[in-house]
């Protein structure tokens, strides 16, 4: 789920719930307040009007007292003679009444009435107001006046003259006539002063003023007759009466009562006016409801808007502050993932996001650095700093493409350090590594010089490229070959450079290299072809004695293929029982007696027939197949020897060739020991033939193993003596019994005096060292004679017998035995 959605889902309740709560609270409070306000306004309206009226009444009452005290009023009413009153006092008194009315225009009628109700003097400020009658004696207003006694009466009623509501205020004029009456005489009622006060304002307010928007007021008497009401309203008397009772009975004065008028539910409150009149204010419930609804709507709207705005703003802000940056960072991460390490986040805010972005950029930077490092490591050899195989291959492809395009040539030089393994095993890997580094230096230097030379020649081809393919293998790509000889010349220079002694750990080392050279496009069009063929060429160089360089020849490839095929065959040869042990007798030189046999491995390939040992033994050794094969040889030889012994051939020592490889990689003493035990052969009847390289490569180990063999009672012969580097001093250290002179010495012993003397020397020295000497490869009598002369102990060769299968040896041994006997 997207972050935005999550936030929204979280935000919404967080905002909505409090908003709702607030809204609800606000609504209830506002609602209550507004209702209270409406009711308060209702009450205020009627209070106001009632107050106004009260004030009017009070003022009128005060005024009437004043008016009644006016000299002229008093004189007027005290003047009993009608004529006098009317002729003399009437005018002036009218003028006085006029002045009252000017001061109080609402007192539109002022009258002085006689005790019987006759209107003696009447002034109206409304000229059109005709007097209905002058005889007011029966008028209920007059009756009320009479009944009021001494106090001022005030009541509201309809003025019969105009049918309108008026406030009637009246006062009885109870006076003493100072001119006539005796001092102590009580005052008598002379008449009444009556004010008729206009209530148009009240009527208009009550009739027209609106309570709220749809409310109204009305004035009703105790019986429920509405004296003033709006035109549109008519309410039954009984209903109004009821309302009055309810209002009177309510506990709180400012709480309206609820009632139904003309089918409409309404709130009503009231206040008493003058003389049992009541002023009611009616507010239809609908209005309150409307207010409530409007309020609810407002609250809801505000809430909604607030929620939307708040949520929207929050979302926008979060989007801006968080989501967008995060997304951007995600994009950046993808970019980084895609390998685009050169990124800029564009997020510069001074907060955690900004820091994250900075971290991202830093990460990308360090990734780039790591990447570069890895790239470097991926393409360079750590030890030497040279480009490695991977880089070389890429480069090679690039050069091939370039060469193809411009139809140019280039050369590959495949360089292998001879016997590097020996050095590595003997001196340790550390030394070996240092050796490699030294080699690298020399090669590089050589190349630079070459390059310098090349540059001097004015060529502008790409540089030579030196790479370490692994182990002790190097490869050089030579882009510029002016003539086919240039690679050779370089190879020569390289070999020379490496032939100089190396000084490592105070040891002097002599190393050599074998170099194979291939040319593009002659020796291959594809990279792997060129390399393989260079390898083949290099291998060939090794076969030719190492420390040289060879150009690739196609036949070498074939050779290599054949070799590989053979190897595969050989792998299976042991299983398939294609291997045979042949035996070549070894004779005592002096007696001619067969004293032993050398076991020789033969391979009979069903397809190709017998395969020469010179061919397949190296293959076996190179491939490591020599181990199982060698083991088999030992076992078979022991078995065969034992079989002969059982057959009663006499003391015949079987000599078994053991490869240096076997010594290096196997516990040869153990193998032999196991074979002896298995076969039951006496150890003295077994001889191990080893080559010099066994001793040379790892002298200490060799001593160990040989000693172990000796302890088992086996004799040891050193094969191909003279062909290696070994010196006699070495031999002294090793438990050797026999020395076998290599056939190369023997072959021209008759022709080459030097060789004859060497052989004689060897024999002599060996005898001094208590060693037996065996001469191999004797082919004619002359050689035999010579060797015998020199005291050679044993002889072996075609002259006597070629290697024979086991059964034929058995026959031979039988015949020989017969012969000797």
């Amino acid at each position: 789920m997207k972050l935005r959605t999550k936030i929204l889902l979280l935000l919404i309740p967080l905002i909505v719930v409090p908003m709702l709560a607030m809204g609800w609270v606000a609504y209830s409070e506002l609602n209550k307040k507004s209702e209270q306000k409406a009711f308060a306004e209702m009450q205020a309206s009627i209070d106001h009007i009632a107050g106004h009226l009260k004030l009017k009444v009070e003022t009128a009452v005060a005024n009437i007292e004043l008016f009644a005290n006016h000299t002229l009023i008093k004189k007027y009413i005290l003047t009993g003679d009608e004529e006098e009153r009317y002729t003399l006092l009437h005018g002036p008194t009218l003028r006085v009444l006029h002045s009252f009315q000017e001061a109080f225009p609402s007192y539109y009628e002022i009258r002085i009435l006689l005790p019987d109700g006759y209107e003696d003097i009447r002034r109206t400020s409304l000229p059109s107001l005709d007097n209905l009658t002058e005889e007011e004696g029966q008028n209920p207003l007059f009756i009320a006046l009479q009944q009021a006694g001494d106090s001022v009466s005030s009541l509201i009623s309809r003025n019969p003259d105009n049918g309108k509501l008026a406030l009637f205020v009246g006062k009885s004029l109870v006076l003493r006539d100072p001119a006539i009456d005796a001092t102590g005489a009580p005052p008598t009622l002379r008449g009444y002063l009556a004010l008729t006060i206009d209530l148009e304002e009240l009527v208009s307010h009550v009739g027209n003023d609106v309570i709220g928007n749809t409310g109204y007021m009305l004035v009703t008497d105790r019986q429920g007759n509405a004296l003033i009401q709006p035109e549109s309203v008519t309410i039954e008397e009984s209903v109004l009466r009821n309302t009055l009772e309810t209002i009177a009975a309510r506990p709180y004065r400012d709480e309206p009562v609820k009632t139904v008028y003309n089918g409409q539910s309404a709130y009503v409150t009231g206040i008493p006016l003058l003389n049992n009149l009541h002023l009611l204010a009616v507010l239809p419930e609908q209005e309150i409801t409307q207010i409530r609804n409007r309020l609810a709507l407002s609250v809801i709207t505000i809430m909604l808007v607030t929620i939307l705005v708040a949520a929207g703003t929050l979302l926008l802000v979060l989007q801006h502050l968080v989501i967008t940056p995060i997304h951007r960072l995600g994009v950046l991460a993808s970019e980084i993932g895609r390998g685009n390490l050169d990124i800029e986040s564009g997020l510069n805010s001074n907060d955690e996001i900004g820091k994250l972005a900075t971290a991202f950029e830093a990460m990308s930077g360090s990734l780039r650095q790591s990447d570069e490092k890895i790239r470097y490591v991926a393409y360079h050899d750590t030890l030497t700093g040279l480009p490695n195989r991977a880089m070389f291959q890429e480069y090679l492809n690039h050069v091939i493409a370039h060469a193809r395009r411009i139809r140019s040539q280039f050369a590959l030089l495949f360089l292998d350090i001879d016997d590097f393994k020996r050095i590595n095993d003997t001196l340790g890997h550390e030394t070996g590594d240092r050796l490699l580094q030294e080699v690298t230096d020399r090669l590089s230097t050589c190349l630079r010089d070459a390059d310098y030379v090349a540059r001097m020649g004015g060529s502008d081809a790409p540089d030579e490229f030196l790479a370490r393919l692994g182990g002790d293998e190097f490869i050089i790509l030579l882009p510029d070959i002016s003539g086919q000889h240039a690679p050779g010349a370089l190879a020569h220079r390289l070999i020379e450079a490496l032939s100089r002694p190396l000084l490592l750990e105070d040891h002097e080392f002599h190393i050599s290299a074998s170099i194979g050279i291939t040319l593009y496009p002659t020796d291959g069009k594809k990279g792997h072809e060129l390399v393989k063929n260079a390898d083949v060429a290099m291998y060939h160089a090794k076969e030719l004695g190492k420390n040289n360089y060879q150009y690739y020849l196609e036949s070498m490839n074939t050779l290599a293929h054949e070799r590989l095929a053979l190897e595969n065959k050989l792998r299976k040869a042991l299983e398939k029982d294609e291997l045979r042990l042949y035996y070549q007798p070894q004779l005592e030189a002096s007696t001619g007696r067969i004293v032993g046999v050398e076991a020789l491995l033969r391979w009979f390939d069903p397809d190709h027939g017998p395969i020469p040992p010179d061919t397949f033994i190296p293959i076996a050794e190179n491939s490591g197949l020599i181990i199982p094969i060698g083991e088999w040889v030992i076992k078979e030889a022991c078995r065969q020897a034992k079989a002969w012994q059982t057959a009663g051939v006499g003391k015949i020592v079987v000599s078994v060739n053991i490869s240096a490889v076997q010594f290096a990689r196997q516990n040869v003493p153990e193998v032999i020991h196991a074979a002896l035990i298995e076969s039951g052969l006496a150890p003295a009847l077994l001889e191990a033939e080893i080559t010099e390289s066994v001793i040379m490569d790892q002298p200490e180990r060799a001593v160990e193993q040989l000693s172990a063999l000796k302890e088992q009672g086996i004799s040891i012969a050193l094969d191909d003596f003279g062909t290696g580097y070994s010196s006699f001093s070495y031999l002294h250290r090793f438990p050797i019994d026999t020395l076998k002179i290599d056939r190369s010495f023997i072959s021209d012993i008759c022709t080459e005096t030097q060789h004859a003397e060497i052989v004689a020397a060897i024999i002599a020295m060996s005898h001094i060292l208590k060693l037996r000497v065996v001469a191999e490869g004797i082919e004619d009598e002359d050689q035999l004679r010579l060797l015998t002369d020199k005291d050679c102990d044993l002889v072996q060769g075609f002259l006597f017998c070629r290697p024979l299968p086991a059964n034929e040896i058995a026959q031979l041994l039988a015949r020989s035995k017969v012969k000797t006997a």
Binding site: T71, L72, K75, D81, E82, E83, E84, R85, Y86, T87, L88, L89, H90, G91, P92, L94, R95, H98, E102, I121, R122, R123, S125, P127
Partner: protein, 361 residues
Amino acid sequence: MIRSTALVPFFKSMAVLFVFFSLPASAADSSAQKPRELVLLNWSEYIDPELVVKFEKQFNAKLTEVYFESDDLRDHMMLETDGKAYDLALVNGISVDVYRKRGWLSSVSGTQIPNLKYIDERWLDAFPGLEGYAVPYFWGTMGIAYRKDLVPTPVSSWMDILQPAEYLHGRIGMIENSRDALGMALKALGYSANSTDTAQIKAAEQLLVAQQPHVKTYTYIALNEESALVSGDIIATMLYSGDALMVQEHHKEIAYVVPSEGGNIWVDYLVVLESSKNKALAWAFLNFLNEPENAAQLAEFVYYATPNKGAEKLLPAEFLEDPVIYPSQAVLSRSEFYKPLPPRVSKKRNIAFSRALQSMD
């Protein structure tokens, strides 16, 4: 007779003060004593100041006048003070009886005032209740004074001011007296000024009510050079005959006419108030006024017809022939004296007139 003055209230209080602080004095005493005081309630400019000075010198007296602007207002002042604030009062004929009934008047006789022998007898009973209580002062008519030069046609009817033409709107003066205003309205309608008929009274009231918007003032105009008639603020006004002649002195284009329907013939009397403490001096004053030379001087001052036969002999022919002062028989026959009215009718008329004054100020 009416004079307009705003000083009435002031003088009223002055009068009251005088009354309280005047020392009683015998009429015969003179030089050694403080001057005796008399207060006369009168119209303004209704007595020659020179005569007053002469009287004061002769009798070592001090005469103070308190003015009223209309008969109604005088009645009001009398009522207010209950007739006790003054020594002498100028009362129109029709009101004397009521005053007498009220007990405000003290009797006058030939014994006290010997010069009464000069008075023409017909004035002594022109109105009921006069005899023995009032001394005739002057008589005249009430008509319309107007500016000849400011009207296209001469004013000749009451309707000219009661239903005024456009050019008289707001330039009319009326008298604030129900007898005069209502009476003349009745006469304008062809009725008697003393009509008791309700319908007629109603009609007259309506006439007055309709006229009211066009009336500039109900206050009696001044009669000096500052008079509204002189300035032209008022073009036509109800005015007493002599007052018209008086104001004519200041502008010769002022004319006086008793309208065709007739006017009112009034008679003014001087009375001695019962409450006076200087009755002897009052009598002496009344006697002084009726010396023929004094009466003649007085008549020439006020431009009114004197009831004093002795004075008449001394007056110039020019005066005696002035039709304004001495109207023709025709005029006299058209005009009416005010008669007493039944109380209820008075009441009605009062109410009617009061309505006319309604929206005045």
